[in-house]
Amino acid sequence: MIIARNVSKEFNGIKAVNNISFEVKEGQTLVFLGTSGCGKTTTLKILNRLIEPSDGEITINGKNILSLQPEILRRSIGYVSQNNGLFPHYTVAENIAIVPNLLKWDKVRTSERSNILLDQLKLPVTEYANKYPDELSGGQKQRVALARALVSDPPVLLMDEPFGALDPITRANVRKEFLELPELKSKTIVLVTHDVQEAFELGDQICLMDKGIIVQTGSPEELIFKPINEFTRNFFSHQRLQLELGALKFSSIWESLTDASSSSKPSLNSNQSLWEGMEMLSEKNEETLVVRNSEDNSYKEVSIQTIQSVYLENKRNR
């Protein structure tokens, strides 16, 4: 649980971060979204005191971070920096072992733990453990950086554009793997990005930032359907339809869908978004697909037409 109150940071009299407050609940993911230079990285680095705030108060799991020694604080927070920051003179295994060494883990424990992570991240130990960063692809480096941040199982993870250096296709793939990582399910994560799609996919909550302030905080659905001002509205205008469909889950429009027979084979579940439903429909080239509600085990049918009418109706009602 992270709570930030009235945090500011001045650089030479210019407020890079201006009196912002936010909260991240245990196990949730908060995304800072905004254009370049709006203060995202600064905000993130304040959380592990790579940057000292000029003003404000921050507690992580009930402890004021300013009361801790910075090195000790940082060893309990995973950090993936904007350009991976792997040590070029350390192998993959050595890079991952940095924090365990700082925490004085024994060798066996360190190697067992890093092997598990490399496995989860699809980097076979035998092949990759002794490679140097410059022998890896961008995506592989990113995954090593992630493993390095996760190895000591810190309760909090800070990530600064972790997928920033990747091409769009790799990026989407790595993101998907990332979402499925069991390691991350219970972590409190603060993530920075300027990619709207990414923010919507990964964030439970999104803080939309501009010029050092938080313009609006909310779930993806709230941001897209209830923008509090022109800035928020305009920010999403380029990808509006996709985002809106992406922000709507089948579960939230469950009642408007027509029932399907319970013997049919479902290809979607109710936690997925209408956008995913559309993609699946065109991918499989089917008229209709069946969605399963995992809570009450009921089944509904969707087609392009139903998605369209439900979406329009939903918009009108808001």
Binding site: L50, P70, R74, S81, H89
Partner: protein
């Protein structure tokens, strides 16, 4: 003794000395390098995040670098004396800039994203320094150490000038004695040493980044190892002699002192540029100098009488083309006016005024001529011809040709043009025989040993005798080159052993034999 040795034979014959010199050379290089790394590395690291300090430190180290090496060695003498200590100090100062600058460049060049991620993981300042910054900066730092090493191997040859030993002893001895084998016996090992050390360091530098952590450990160990070859030589002798590399190798020098006087004295090799001062400052007690050097007076030194005459006479006299003397018969009487007028102490005094009081040679010459009543206004009227005077580049010669100019123009209708600064003996002599100048002042000993170079049989019976040497060179120059030696001016700028006046007086040493007796008594008492 004079039969031709080839280089291999020479090196074999001198292998003991060669080994000593090489070890001293490695020692000087490595010790100074070690200290430079020990000081420069932390300094480079310290200034890496301090812009102002960096500007200042790099500036100072840069200025040190621009001081000519021989001058830097000279500056060290009043502070640290002569020998290994000032040599190491000077070498250390030279090695400092490349080490500091490359450390600074290396550390500031480390990608800030990497150090930041190190901080982000909870590494502290020192962990980041030793585990991240230094290893990543190591290739650049090593490049600096390589530069410093090569510079130091080169500059360490100059250590021979201040009695610190090293391969410079052979190199500069060989240059002074025109002995190619000796030059090469010093220069080749020095070059090989530079190449070898550079190569060794390049191996370290090429080691990949991972091994850098090991390099960080191995390098200082190796340096200390190399340094330990060389135990800084020091001497506790009561009387220490400093001789030039040239003097050390000459029969009419150190070799003669040993064979004719049986002089047994501890010696160091040193350059004449710093020798007088070192004697003045009690760092040396006996030196080999020139009898009329102005520094004799400046530093209150006295010459010891050469009572067994091992040093050949170096009487100065005008050396003139015979055709010019015939064409202008009035010339010779004008030149002879100076004969017998200037003795050793007068010449020393005149040299002192130019070298130390920085008076112009023209003025010193004029003052002297006026004082002696020899000055006449230049004659007017139609000129009878032009006489071209040459001189080598040092004060004594400048003074002399200015005097001759006044004498010629005051006593004849001839006009004079001067061609000063003709380098050394060889250049002056060639200019004379090629009819580019008409005369210059030369020394009998130089004429004998540098130009005529007679064999030992001819040399031995005449070398100690002023008249015989003069007669010999006069006859030979006339026969061989159609040049005339006119009457000597009077002073003898020969080699001489010198001591501080105070010490010579208190030990009652007046002659070289006195010195010899004093030393053998001393040795008996031990």
């Amino acid at each position: 003794m004079n039969e031709q040795l080839n280089l291999g034979q020479f090196m074999l014959q001198q292998s003991g000395k060669l080994l000593d010199q090489t070890i001293a050379h490695i020692g000087l290089t490595c010790i100074s390098l070690l200290i430079a790394v020990a000081v420069g590395l932390p300094l480079g690291i310290w200034i890496a995040d301090k812009k102002r300090a960096a500007w200042f430190v790099l500036g100072v180290a840069g200025i040190l670098q621009t001081i000519p090496s021989i001058a830097l060695l000279g500056f060290m003498i009043p502070l640290l004396g002569i020998g290994a200590l000032p040599a190491i100090a000077a070498l250390f100062l030279y090695a400092l800039l490349p080490v500091i600058r490359n450390t600074y460049t290396g550390i500031t060049g480390v990608d800030p994203a990497i150090t930041e991620s190190a901080r982000g993981m909870g590494m502290n300042k020192w962990q980041i320094l030793f585990q991240v910054e230094i290893p990543l900066a190591m290739p650049v730092i090593l490049a600096g150490i390589r530069t410093a090493t090569v510079i130091n191997v080169g500059v360490a040859t100059l250590a021979a000038y201040i009695a610190a030993g090293g391969l410079g002893e052979f190199i500069f001895g060989g240059i002074a004695l025109n002995n190619t084998n000796m030059i090469l016996a010093g220069a080749i090992p020095a070059a090989l040493l530079a190449i070898l050390l550079d190569f060794l360091l390049s191996l370290f530098q090429k080691a990949n980044l991972k091994k850098m952590r090991k390099v960080t450990l191995i390098l200082p160990v190796l340096l200390i190892l190399f340094s330990s070859f060389y135990i800084i030589p020091y001497t506790s002798e009561k009387i220490l002699a400093g001789f030039t590399p040239e003097f050390m190798g000459r029969e009419d020098g150190y070799l003669g002192l040993k064979s004719k006087y049986k002089l047994d004295i501890s010696t160091v090799v040193i350059s004449d540029a710093v020798m007088y001062k070192a004697a003045f400052e009690n760092k040396l007690d006996v030196i080999s100098g020139y009898s009329t050097d102005g520094r004799l007076k400046a530093y209150d030194l006295v010459t010891l009488e050469d009572d067994k005459t091992i040093f050949p006479p170096y009487y100065a006299a005008p050396l003139v083309r015979q055709d010019v003397l015939q064409k202008h018969p009035e010339l010779q009487p004008a030149l002879d006016i100076l004969s017998g007028v200037i003795n050793d102490s007068i010449m020393t005094e005149l040299n002192y005024r130019v070298d130390y009081q920085k008076q112009l040679p023209e003025k010193v010459a004029l003052d002297f001529m006026l004082e002696k009543g020899l000055y006449k206004k230049p004659q007017t009227g139609p000129e009878a011809g032009i006489i071209r005077l040459g001189s080598k580049i040092f004060a004594e010669q400048y003074i002399l040709i200015n005097m001759y100019k006044m004498l010629i123009e005051g006593n004849t209708k001839l006009k004079v043009v001067t061609r000063t600064g003709l380098g050394g003996t060889k250049i002056c002599f060639d200019a004379l025989t090629n009819n580019e100048i008409d005369m210059y002042p030369e020394y009998t000993g130089t004429g004998l040993l540098v130009i005529l170079k007679p064999d030992k049989k001819t040399l031995d019976p005449i070398i100690g005798n002023r008249e015989k040497v003069f007669d010999f060179v006069q006859k030979e120059f006339s026969d061989q080159y159609k040049l005339s030696w006119l009457k000597p001016i009077g002073f003898n700028n020969a080699y001489a052993l010198m001591m501080r006046r105070s010490q010579a007086q208190s030990l009652r040493i007046k002659t070289i034999s006195d010195l010899k007796n004093y030393l053998s008594n001393e040795n008996h008492q031990h």
